[in-house]
Amino acid sequence: MAPAKLLLPLPFEQIMRRHEGEIMRYLLRSSGNRADAADLFQETWLRAYCAYPRLDPGSNVRPWLYTIALNLCRNQARDGARRAAVIIADEEANPAAERIGKTPRAQVENDGYAAVRMRELISALPARQREALQLRYFAGLNYPEIAEVMKCSPQTARANVSQARRKLKSLW
């Protein structure tokens, strides 16, 4: 009699080797600096390692990893905002909003700072639209995957991305 087929998840090492590059790129792009990205990277994989036994072997690893990464990005943004509020309490409520539009577009293009300006615009988007846009373009997830990460329907994910794009286009 043939031995029963085992339904085993991939070893964690293999998951990590396969996805660490894209997770790092996603974190770099959405956090915008290397130190934060490195911290978030550690934390993401540590959480993933601890939670891995409870992940159903049949389920899709990629959205699961991005769920962890996104939650950590949110935490970091929240804590960062709190810290900033303590240190520079008298500055304007939303510095990102203030900066937007101040740099003339021609200069942006001339100086090759398009990416910087784009980052500013993206960071000023409403949270869910920004997150959906980042998952779509920085992480390269498809809509069903984004929906899984953001706990919404694929239609909502698609709508969030397209609204974000429309907003960026109008501001660009």
Partner: protein
Amino acid sequence: MNLEQFLSGAAGAGDLPVEELLRRSRKQFERMLKGMRRPEVAIGVVNSPLGDLLVALGARGIVLIHYLLGGDLESIIAKLRLTLDPVEDRHSVTGVGAEIRRYLDGHTDALRSRVDLALATTPFQKKVLGKLQEVPRGAVVSYRALGAAAGAPKGARAIGNVMHNNPVPIYVPCHRVIASGGGLGGYGGGLSRKLRLLRSEGFTLGNAAKALPVSVVWGHKDTKIYCRSGCPAVQRADSARIVFFADSAQAKTAGLRPCKVCRPAL
């Protein structure tokens, strides 16, 4: 640069040089993980005369043997994953199946693999299973006697629990534990497997046996004397000190002398 270019440039994931950062972060991550890493085990299903067995083999020995009786494979693996990192590897576990087969065929020294009691979590479990490993082939003890040996003279039920949760049956011989009165007790893999194992260890037991046969001798741990089943001397003795042997020869090998009242054979 327009919006589309920017976004599609970002989507082409290969452009961002992250190798150096990744290398450093990975090293740091490994360091952070050091104390909390789950040990890796090779797992696979092996065929044996006792049916299919799920075997998990770690670096320090066999971690788990599980009788596959129904469709409980998924739940047992899910449980295993909480403490270990299982990797499917049929080749490294087939040796265990071969050892069990040889053992049941009567090769007394066939069970050579080491045992790792990593899944026995409580100190009591570890202690009881350690004591149990001292029970030799050809002998059986009662739940009560094992409890007494492990420092829990009133803990026969607790011993039953530990046996039920024995992570490595066959190698850690929980089939050598029976009821104090000579009844066979139960077995996680079903009583027929317990009978089969005990038969291969020298006990004469029929397929429907419910108790040890009268041919066993009762040994006393302190006096080092062994008796026939019905001997009045043994009936006065504390049942927590009794070890059952398949026959007189086994008792003699264990260093006991025959009783002068009932004069067991040999």
